[in-house]
């Protein structure tokens, strides 16, 4: 069977599965719609959380990021896994004990303030909607590349699928599709990795293969070989640290705090039966996430080595060692067609020279060889996962798997984000503020309408991505880190932080982070409106905008504690609420208490 048939078959089967689950898991109450009835097994919820969390970026882009940055990409690996320790230890069990439907609901009740709740809703919606744009784009791209349908048709199909199970089943439908999507995406990610690890090192476990010797009998370690191959061409050493330690630590911390504060991840822990299960479930979530996150470094390093070996077939310096352009492999031609890979024969010798022409130390050597610049002018990092099976000549069905896996990753995250948005609108704004007297049935209908609206909005933004689409990660994590995480943590760990403190803190964190990002990325990301150029020389204290979330969080803590100290402590019933949240006994299923 050819690749295209395999792709239609595998992607079609996975979609049929999601729709089947949607029909089986319709939501009949608000409790089912918002928190899947509160009866999800902790291991199952761990799996759903992993799919909820791992987005198109984790599946498609991260391994490529590691492939080109090497050690320096560790900030993402550490940040996006280390955040789960904070979530498990500092937030998840207590918020589960609180036993309500949404994150803003906790902030509103704990700080006895509608204003605080509205601020939280705004942060949640901005963070989630910007995040969802990337997912819709991922869906469109995956369809476009693998199924050869136009980008917008791809987005429409993706929207249709999400619409079906998210509107019908709410959190219940999303939970069970996410479990299926986790299985699809993890299988799709690990199978090519195992094949490639066996090819290069003889070890089936990629995590072991990355630290093992090459299978070619040379006895050289894979990482040493990779370091040698790329430094020979002027690239920076793979395993060494290139940037500043402080900036990397700050970026890592920002990503950790942001991860722990993202509402669509937090609400997943409202679906388990009790507090002990919420703790356990966070551990399982990290286990399932770690399977991908510990495989990705191996995929990155091995794909980079394969790519280098394809283009540079022998020792640097001999002309025959550079691959002749007309002998390039089929996958090279395929991906040239997509524009993700581009070659330009600068010295017109008909051969490919791929090296680091920005490295002054290598310039003399390149000149003496008659090289006139790097000729691989575009090597998109997404290629490292998307083309990986082809580069390693894996069977056709593996390529089909990668297509289904990318779609599963994008759809599962999109659905989780949309639920967070829809529940904030129907539960926090509509039921909580404007129409507190609506019946449960009406609220369920409102939830479905909000969900439908959110899907349409996401689709629209996916089709007409605003200029800032590429910056959304910085924004989403920055907002979650600087506004939501500190407010939630202080709400649990301090009885003294009061309404005025929490609101001042959230606004301080939020505005400082927005300001810092806009300073370098432009006001509302409008190109050209940035006041300072976005480079290391102009960053204040060397802090890059992506790393500012941790600073924003610190400001949030400082302002909240200071203002609370100067104003009256929270009323007695709030102090009792905090004491109650701190002990597991007496947890109830959200929506079914009292």
């Amino acid at each position: 069977m050819d690749t295209q048939t395999w792709i239609y078959l595998v992607v079609g089967a996975s979609f049929a599965l999601y729709i089947g689950i949607a029909i089986w898991s319709r939501a009949g109450s608000t409790s089912e719609f918002y928190v899947a009835g509160g009866g999800v097994h902790p291991v199952a919820n761990g799996m759903a959380t992993a799919a909820d969390w791992m987005s198109a970026a984790s599946f498609i882009s991260m391994a490529g990021l590691i492939a080109f940055l090497g050690y320096d990409a560790s900030a993402y690996l550490l940040g996006w896994t280390g955040g789960y320790v904070l979530l498990a230890l500092l937030l998840a069990p207590y918020l589960r004990k609180f036993g309500k439907f949404t994150v803003p609901e906790f902030i509103g009740e704990r700080f006895y303030s509608r204003t605080a709740r509205v601020v939280a809703v705004v942060c949640l919606i901005v963070a989630s909607v910007t995040y969802v744009i990337g997912q819709m784009k991922g869906v469109g791209v995956a369809f476009g590349r693998f199924l050869e349908v136009p980008f917008d048709v791809g987005v429409f199909i993706g929207m249709g699928i999400v619409f079906f199970y998210a509107v019908l089943g709410g959190m219940k439908g999303i939970t069970y599709t996410q479990i299926a999507q986790y299985c699809v995406l993890i299988f799709a990610f690990t199978v090519p990795a195992i094949f490639i690890s066996i090819q290069l090192t003889g070890w089936p476990l990629p995590q072991v293969g990355l630290g093992a010797t090459m299978a070619d009998g040379s006895g050289v370690y894979l990482l040493d070989k990779l370091d040698a191959v790329i430094t020979d061409l002027g690239f920076a050493e793979y395993t060494a640290h290139k940037g500043s330690d402080v900036n990397m630590a700050l970026l890592t911390l920002s990503l950790m705090i942001g991860t722990a504060g993202l509402p669509h991840v937090i609400i997943r822990f409202f679906t388990v039966p009790n507090v002990a299960d919420a703790r356990r479930s966070a551990g399982w979530a990290l286990v399932f996430i770690a399977i991908l996150y510990t495989t990705a470094p191996a995929v990155g390093a091995m794909a980079r080595l394969n790519l280098m070996n394809t283009v540079q077939t022998g020792p640097v310096g001999e002309p025959e060692s550079n691959l002749a352009y007309d002998q390039r492999p089929d996958w090279f031609r395929t991906w040239e067609g997509t524009g993700l890979l581009r070659f330009e024969d600068k010295n017109e010798d008909g051969r490919i020279q791929y090296y680091d022409d920005s490295n002054p130390a290598f310039a003399d050597r390149a000149e003496s060889l008659g090289w006139q610049g790097n000729e691989m002018t575009t090597v998109d990092r997404d290629i490292m996962v998307l083309a990986n099976p082809e580069i390693a000549s894996l069977p056709n069905w593996v390529i089909a798997l990668v297509a289904a896996g990318g779609l599963a990753a994008a759809l599962s995250t999109a659905a989780g984000l949309l639920l967070a948005v829809a529940s904030a609108i129907s539960h926090d704004l509509l039921k909580g503020m404007f129409m507190p007297r609506i019946s449960e049935k009406q609220e369920l209908r409102a939830g479905r309408i909000a969900m439908a609206g959110a899907v349409l909005l996401a689709g629209y933004l996916g089709l007409n991505p605003p200029g800032f689409a590429a910056q959304v990660v910085a924004l989403a994590f920055g907002l979650a880190a600087s506004s939501l995480f500190p407010a939630l943590m202080m709400g649990i760990f301090s009885k003294r932080v009061n309404r005025a403190g929490a609101i001042t803190g959230m606004l301080a964190g939020l505005s400082s982070t927005l300001l810092y990002i806009f300073l370098y990325k432009g006001w509302f990301f409008v190109p050209g409106t940035n006041l300072l150029p976005d480079d290391a020389a102009h960053w204040i204290l060397g802090i890059q905008p992506e790393s500012f979330g941790a600073v924003g969080a610190l400001l949030n803590f400082v302002f909240a504690l200071l203002v609370s100290r100067l104003t009256a402590p929270p009323p007695d019933d709030i102090q009792e609420l905090v004491e109650n949240v701190r002990v597991p006994r007496g947890a109830t299923v959200p929506g079914q208490s009292h």
């Binding site: 050690y71 896994t81 320790v85 498990a88 010797t213 990482l223 640290h241 551990g283």
Partner: protein, 89 residues
């Protein structure tokens, strides 16, 4: 209302919880920021197989420690819950 006895118990439970959290967070910070970032360059002179040690912690080891930390937390908290009688039925 809580009897004075119960609230002293609750306070002791919360203090025990905070002590456990402090220990775990310290390990978490040491592994990720210490071994994975600030000490990574120095650790790279040692090796596990082909992995330079600092690189290993940054891209593999720290993640395994994170998982272990959460499960240690789960076990210790379950024990604390029972010890102070605040566990769920």
């Amino acid at each position: 209302m809580n009897s004075p006895d119960q609230s002293t118990g609750a306070r002791a439970y919360w203090r025990a919880n905070l002590r456990l959290l402090a220990k775990l967070i310290l390990i978490w910070a040491f592994v990720s920021f210490g071994l994975g970032i600030f000490l990574a360059g120095w650790l790279d002179q040692f090796r596990i197989g082909g992995y330079p040690l600092g690189f290993f912690f940054a891209q593999q080891g720290a993640i395994y420690v994170f998982i272990a930390l959460i499960f240690v937390y789960v076990r210790r908290m379950n024990r604390l819950d029972r010890q102070y009688g605040v566990n769920e039925e």
